[in-house]
């Protein structure tokens, strides 16, 4: 009985101290960001591994999501004789929800897990301690560039995802379903609002990027430096990152599009 209670207490303390460490970590990371303008190559290198290498999966996913949406929208809307609204349905669902959320999820899976594994391996092979021994702050040299690269990359990737998905929907609507090009674009331009839809979607993507990168980098830095701990940390990055994206999406949607 007492052991059972102790177990609960232990896990409560463990999770609280974890949150505390994550917050402190974020604070140190933000402080270390000021170092990046002196060494821009650090950022460029991370932009490559975090952003450019995620580009392919974003492009492919975007095209297919757009095409599927257009097809599904057609199947439903044709019953009401409203098939000219395909573009509206595709563009609004992409800009408001699917663009930021899909990008966040794919980023957590593709780049977030890689970040955690990379930093975790640096920790378990004692590269991070080695840096500290040489009076090089790993926060400045390892963590901050990765954090900033992710923060910049996610909105950029989201913009690309949105554009590609709408083009995919455009392709299906005009080539497969025989809609006129002009109808497709004019419906969209008439109803999609720049601030309400596009800017809100981009704000979402910024928030998702921030949270996913924070989780990824922290899990790597905080992992148990064994091969098992590293595996668990990578899993946690993907699971927690994805759940955070989905949960925050609901909160942000409720705040932005006040129903």
């Amino acid at each position: 009985m007492l052991n059972w209670l102790q177990g609960i207490g232990h896990s409560v303390f463990a999770s609280i101290s974890r949150i505390g460490r994550a917050a402190l970590f974020l604070w140190q990371c933000l402080l270390a960001l000021s170092y990046i303008p002196q060494k821009p190559m650090l950022l460029v290198r991370q932009m490559y591994s975090v952003g450019v290498q995620t580009l392919l999966i974003i492009l492919v996913a975007g095209i297919f999501v757009g095409m599927v949406l257009a097809l599904q929208a057609y199947i439903v809307l044709v019953d009401f004789g409203a098939e000219e609204s395909i573009s509206l349905m595709v563009s609004l669902s992409i800009l408001r929800e699917l663009g930021p959320v899909f990008t966040g999820l794919l980023f957590a899976g593709r780049a977030g897990s890689a970040l955690t594994a990379e930093i975790g391996l640096m920790k378990s092979t004692e590269q991070l301690s080695g840096m500290e021994m040489m009076a090089v702050n790993p926060m400045k040299y390892v963590i901050a560039p990765r954090f900033l690269a992710g923060l910049i990359s996610v909105p950029l990737l989201t913009a690309i995802f949105m554009a590609v998905a709408i083009l995919g929907g455009f392709f299906v609507a005009t080539e497969m379903l025989g809609q006129y090009e002009g109808v497709f674009w004019s419906q969209m331009q008439a109803k999609v609002d720049f601030y309400d839809d596009l800017i809100n979607g981009m704000i979402k993507s910024l928030v998702f990027g921030f949270v996913v990168v924070w989780i990824a980098v922290f899990e790597g830095y905080d992992c148990v430096p064994t091969s098992e701990g590293l595996g668990q940390a990578t899993t946690r990055t993907v699971v927690h990152g994805s759940l955070a994206v989905l949960g925050l999406d609901f909160v942000l949607t409720a705040l932005m599009f006040n129903v």
Binding site: G51, A163, Q189, L198
Partner: protein
């Protein structure tokens, strides 16, 4: 990888994203129409019922979009809905133009249709359109239909 190649790839990535953003804002949303709001004038119109008219609904004359609904409020003196129409300067209408709330298609969105009159003078900034026709509310039409049916029998 060589630094140069790395920078080229990252540069291409950023340029691609900026292009996507530009395309999204200009081709896929109404940002382009925010810019040409420079030369407009506003007129008001009182409607008994505006149905589902919204701010930013189109204003059209003869099927051509000539402006948009800028503001909707309730006039507490006349007990009517007061709609402010923002018309583009290049379109001028006579003073006795009539405005009606119409529906595009059976269940489509609602818009304000203008039918020009014959007056010599044109509508100016701040004028009011006197002749208005309310929106067709489906429930009222059905109610009237049922009522007249019942009277026949």
């Amino acid at each position: 990888m060589k630094t140069r190649n790395l920078e080229i790839l990252v540069g291409a990535f950023v340029v691609l994203a900026v292009l996507a953003m530009v395309m999204l804002s200009l081709k896929m949303s109404n940002l382009a129409s925010y810019g040409d709001e420079g030369d407009v004038y506003e007129v008001t119109a009182q409607f008994e019922n505006i149905g589902g008219l919204k701010v930013r609904s189109p204003v059209s004359a003869g099927g051509v979009r000539v402006g948009k609904v800028a503001n909707i409020s309730y006039n507490n003196q006349a007990f009517t809905a007061q709609v402010t129409l923002q018309l583009e300067d290049k379109y001028q209408f006579p003073l006795d133009t009539s405005a009606s709330v119409l529906t595009a298609g059976l269940l489509g969105e609602q818009y304000v249709g203008l039918v020009p009159g014959a007056d010599e003078e044109n509508l100016q900034q701040g004028d009011e359109i006197e002749l208005t026709q309310s929106a067709l509310v489906l429930e009222q039409v059905i109610g009237q239909f049922l009522y007249s049916k019942a009277q026949e029998e």
